[in-house]
């Protein structure tokens, strides 16, 4: 049997005596450190009610949430969340990124690259992206056979550097995306240093729901933004949580957005999207017992805020 052959083969592989002695010696010399204790989180809740098309701008700390009055083509108003993000100068990025951005500028088309891991992505970008001790060591979400692998990628657009990384946590797809705006950004700096955190696809319907208009491939639908609240991390970073639901679908889409050092981070668990037509990703079935809110919060707290 293959199992017996494998066991026999691996039993011959052992740690060398000299390595054992060396590790034991170093263990003896290692001083015990005090266990890490996470400071208790000071949670401040602020509910921002969606009042339909006449939403006034509501701003809290690093975020603003409002419906713009510009027409969106559907007769409604776009819903935007904007955040105080930094506009980075080009010389703050790595040489490699600057070179690639130059090519993007010349061609007018976005460029996408696939670093092997978050650290490589941090090196490529050059500006200080946060590390995450909870997500370190997690695997990329494994799609079912025949489905595309949505791996970590960095895409460059004039004015925007965007990173996307899917993780699998307890069978759930958890995505982390990061938007870094540059001084070239000429979209909608809505109010001075406020730049969009979400943009494009959300329209307030006037009845407490928001339509996610979706992509060209047909993914989309009507979602209800049920709840938003903020929590403050020990270093003062404010995290905006959003909970969405979808009619007739159990579960939720839960998001956590924050800005740190001028860079926007968005974490999402898309439980309700698993049956969404047109989406070519896999979503593990899970029920309310999965505790996706706890998982999202753990992922947020895993960032090394300093």
């Amino acid at each position: 049997m293959i199992q017996e052959r494998y066991k026999k083969m691996m039993e011959r592989e052992t740690l060398r005596d000299v390595a054992k002695a060396s590790i034991l010696e170093r263990m003896e010399q290692t001083e015990a450190r005090r266990p890490v204790r996470w400071p208790a989180l000071a949670a401040a809740c602020l509910c921002l009610a969606l009042l339909g098309t006449a939403i006034a701008a509501a701003a809290t700390g690093g975020f603003g949430l409002w419906a713009e009055s510009r027409p969106n083509g559907d007769g409604g108003n776009d819903l935007s969340v904007a955040a105080k993000q930094k506009l980075f100068g080009e010389d703050e990025f790595s040489d490699a990124l600057q070179k690639d951005m130059e090519a993007v500028r010349e061609s007018g088309t976005a460029s996408v690259c696939y670093p092997p891991d978050w650290q490589a992505a941090r090196d490529y970008v050059g500006v200080p992206l946060l590390e995450n001790c909870f997500l370190d060591g997690r695997e990329t979400f494994e799609p079912p056979e025949g489905k595309p692998d949505h791996s970590l990628h960095v895409s460059l657009h004039p004015g925007l550097v965007y990173l996307y990384r899917p993780y699998e946590v307890d069978g759930l797809l958890l995505t982390v995306s990061t938007g870094i705006f540059t001084e070239e950004y000429d979209g909608d700096p809505i109010l001075g240093e406020w730049v969009p955190f979400w943009w494009g696809n959300h329209a307030a319907n006037g009845d407490g729901t928001v339509t996610f208009r979706g992509d060209d491939d047909g993914a989309g639908g009507v979602f209800r933004l049920d709840e938003t609240w903020t929590e403050t991390m020990p270093d003062g970073t404010e995290v905006l949580y959003t909970r969405w639901s979808r009619a007739g679908v159990e579960g939720c889409w839960l998001g956590a957005d924050f800005v740190h050092d001028g860079i926007g981070y968005a974490l999402d668990i898309f439980e309700i999207w698993r049956d969404m037509p047109g989406l070519e990703v896999a979503f593990a079935p899970c029920g309310p017992e999965t505790g996706y809110e706890d998982i999202l919060r753990q992922a947020v707290e895993g960032f090394v805020f300093e």
Binding site: I2, M9, L15, R16, I23, R26
Partner: protein, 155 residues
Amino acid sequence: MEREEQRRLFEAYADDVFRLAYSYLGSAQDAEDVCQTVFLRLAEGRTGPRPGKEKQWLLTCAANASKDLLRSFWRRNVGELPEDVPAAREDGELYRAVMSLPPKYRAVVHLYYYEGIGQREIGEILHISRTAVQTRMSRARAMLRKELSDDPGEI
């Protein structure tokens, strides 16, 4: 945790930690590095195993440290490291077949075939779902069938 207990865990599980790291990395030298990382972490005592879960904790640390090391390899564009390739190794065919699998599949194969661990616990060690364990195991078996001249029925 007392030094004596740490030493006992080292004596009991150092080889298991080494083998899991070796199955990930395909390099004895790197597996030794992982072993050292894992047991120094234990000695530091910042985090530690729950009673009765010592081996699982050590294997989880070994898997994490191996993945970290793999990432650093990739960063240096070294790629896969089949350094101990087995000209004189017994069962070289099996070794080559296993080492030709992607590292994350090798880890599942090792924990299942060598450690005899169930899918649920493998998922806990590797931070993946039970479905992902099943998927990886199934794909690994399919790849091994292709590589090995054995009767596919025995895989």
